[in-house]
């Protein structure tokens, strides 16, 4: 314990954004340093999950009247993108799946040991495969129309979190398996907040790195200490008397996804669980306001996750386009032409081909535009390196489009939460009369200007990012090197706006009705 807070700052361990620390808002730091802060954040979503599961299994199997389908496919997704755009990864912070920890700790006692997550899976390729399967299933099984399947999906998530974090170190599920979490990780890169260190000098001289490994604090050292967050050895004991704003005694876990606060340059893998804030004995952790997309200029994924993370982000963008396009007329025409050309009525085959094709086209055109930009800039042509340089431009576009799409649905039916819950209680015998006229948050005629506006704003960010990356990496030649990506952005925007301008149609009618 040789570190002292508030010393003059030397060179930072890594460049981090400098801005207002949101923990300075009255009461917030104290609240979040409280040992039970996260449980408090998780309770509302846990209660919602119970409603989803109960109504999904036992309620009316009509999507617009069921809590499962309405809250999951409409409200949850809409609020996720709003939170990411305006604040950060709030939904991982409040994730109720982590409440299975009590059960997994109990189950662990019956295991001979914890297992190490296979090295071959310590990347995002499993997530890429699971995302492809999930998006395919969403279309093929019409998840959006089935309260029953939606409830099973929720149960599956809880079971998955329980199973993975029982057999493997805590945080394995979040980092390597959870699709919702990784969607949030990828697009939290657009968020205006980030965990940072207040004073890097304090971190530099910190011996035990509790923000990463955890700590145990009490007045007297116990005979045995719990293991570090990664299970490697015992955590450090730091007496309560040495803790700045102790916030309780006992075990304070560190970062379950292996993030060291002063080295964080990206929101990738940060669940905003605030373990770091609670574990830091020097109260040296900040939640700093930054320019949205600040990290896109820092190429942080080269240091963490590398190619697999960028492939995940780019595929999320293009499957996002497909996810929205599957609700407009031209998509059905293309699907039916493919089916006719292959003389097949198999929706699985047609959808499978479309998903593979979109993945191939998305990665292909991103690689081509990025390689061309590098070539013009005078760099040695290494397509995957170019892909990792310019991929952030696609992530910016992807977030804009997902945001526009999810917001479209949210604004179309946000207020339906009222009659859907009224219906839940009506079905169970309470004398409530649902007001089904409640649905829209804004008039229909506003939807296109709003969604197009969001797409355009993030398109402008992508445009600016292309210019800045080009000038950063290629100097004067950057003035020419930026053009392949600028044209890419322009083409993407035109295509995105065309999709948003189409009248929405319901899914499930590709090769026949969904019922």
């Amino acid at each position: 314990m040789n570190a002292q807070p508030k010393r003059p700052t030397l060179r930072p361990i890594t460049e981090q954004p400098i801005g207002f620390d949101l923990f300075r808002l009255p009461g917030l730091r104290r609240l979040l340093r409280w040992k039970y802060a996260r449980v408090t954040l998780q309770l509302p979503l846990l209660i919602l999950a119970v409603f989803v599961i109960v109504d999904g299994f036992t309620g009316r199997q009509l999507a617009p009247r069921n809590v499962a389908t309405t809250s999951v496919w409409l409200h949850y997704r809409g609020l996720v993108v709003i939170a990411l755009a305006l604040f950060g990864n709030a939904f991982c912070a409040a994730c109720p799946l982590m409440l299975t920890r009590g059960m997994s700790r109990w189950l662990e006692k019956h295991l001979p040991q914890k297992y190490a997550w296979p090295k071959a899976l310590k990347n995002k390729y499993l997530i890429v495969a699971l995302l492809g399967f999930y998006f395919f299933s969403y279309e093929y099984f019409d998840l959006w129309a089935s309260p029953w399947l939606t409830a099973w999906l929720a149960v599956g998530y809880f079971a998955g979190a329980l199973a993975v974090d029982t057999f493997f170190p805590s945080g394995t599920f979040c980092r390597y398996v959870c699709l919702l979490g990784n969607f949030n990780f990828a697009f939290a890169s657009a968020s205006p907040t980030q965990i940072t260190a207040l004073d890097h000098h304090v971190c530099r001289s910190c011996t035990h790195k509790p923000c990463l490994h955890g700590r145990y604090s009490s007045t007297h050292k116990p005979e045995s200490l719990p293991l570090r967050t990664n299970g490697s050895k015992e955590v450090a004991f730091i007496p309560t008397s040495e803790i700045v704003r102790p916030g309780g005694t006992g075990y304070f876990p560190g970062c379950e996804t292996d993030l060291f606060v002063p080295a964080i340059q990206s929101n990738m893998d940060c669940t905003l669980c605030f373990n770091c804030l609670r574990a830091c004995p020097y109260d040296n952790v900040a939640l700093t306001l930054r320019t949205p997309g600040w990290e896109w200029m820092k190429s942080p994924w080269l240091k963490r996750g590398r190619l697999a993370v960028m492939i995940m982000g780019v595929l999320l963008t293009f499957w996002g386009i497909l996810n929205a396009a599957a609700m407009i007329g031209p998509f059905f025409g293309i699907a039916q032409r493919i089916a006719a050309g292959l003389h097949t009525e198999s929706e699985a085959l047609v959808l499978g081909l479309i998903f593979v094709a979109v993945a191939g086209i998305g990665l292909g055109i991103t690689l081509a535009a990025a390689s061309l930009a590098d070539f013009i800039g005078g760099a040695q042509v290494r397509p995957w390196r170019a892909f990792q340089r310019w991929g952030y431009v696609v992530i910016a576009l992807g977030f804009g489009f997902w945001g526009a799409h999810f917001l479209f649905h949210f604004l179309t039916g946000a207020v339906s939460v009222v009659p859907v819950f009224q219906h839940f209680f009506e079905l169970r015998g309470l004398g409530v009369d649902p007001n089904w006229q409640l649905a829209r948050l804004v008039p229909t005629r506003w939807l296109f200007p709003i969604t197009a506006g969001i797409t355009a704003v993030y398109g402008l960010l992508a445009f600016t990012l292309s210019v800045r990356i080009a000038l950063r990496d290629f100097g004067q030649r950057g003035v020419v090197a930026m053009w392949p990506m600028l044209l890419f952005v322009l083409a993407f925007l035109v295509f995105a706006l065309l999709i948003l301008a189409q009248p929405m149609e319901m899914r499930g009618t590709i090769l026949g009705p969904s019922f």
């Binding site: 599961i53 109960v54 299994f57 036992t58 009316r60 199997q61 009509l62 999507a63 617009p64 009247r65 069921n66 389908t69 309405t70 496919w73 409409l74 059960m103 019409d142 959006w144 129309a145 089935s146 029953w148 399947l149 409830a151 099973w152 149960v155 007329g329 059905f332 649905h409 949210f410 179309t412 039916g413 946000a414 339906s416 089904w436 006229q437 649905a439 829209r440 009248p503 929405m504 149609e505 319901m506 899914r507 499930g508 009618t509 009705p513 969904s514 019922f515």
Partner: protein, 131 residues
């Protein structure tokens, strides 16, 4: 143990297959023959105005004086339902003249019927509205 009980309860609740409630015919009627309900879309389902006709009889005798509400729900959550009151145009024939499909795709037409004696009846019909 609590968790195992919770999982077992869930499995019992779900019964491993979805509740088959998409085509419902439910309600409470007093003793006697259950009324027959037939739903038709005048001219077939199409985008825009598509009057819905509800035929209501019991043992081939038209039921007069019922209150019939026609509701259209899309299969996707969050879209406003289309709700129209049907008026009796002939004995046992109720027509929701202003009913309008606002989007192509899959819909459920549900009729909520209150019979003159106060009994209630619900009938649903899945419909695909072509582009």
């Amino acid at each position: 143990m609590r968790w195992i009980l919770a999982i077992l309860t869930s499995l019992l609740l779900t019964n491993c297959k979805p509740p088959g409630e998409r085509e419902v015919s439910s309600g409470s009627t007093s003793a006697g023959l259950k009324p027959t309900v037939r739903i038709e879309i005048d001219g077939g389902p199409s985008l825009g105005l598509s009057p819905v006709i509800v035929y209501l009889n019991r043992d081939e005798v038209a039921i007069r004086g019922a209150t019939v509400e026609v509701r259209g729900d899309m299969t996707h959550a969050g879209m406003s339902p289309v709700i129209e009151r049907a008026t009796e145009v002939e004995p046992g024939i109720y027509r929701a003249e202003e009913f309008s499909f606002t989007m192509a795709g899959d819909w459920f037409i549900t009729t909520d019927i209150e019979l003159p004696e106060g009994d209630t009846l619900t009938e649903s019909l899945p419909v695909t509205v072509p582009r």
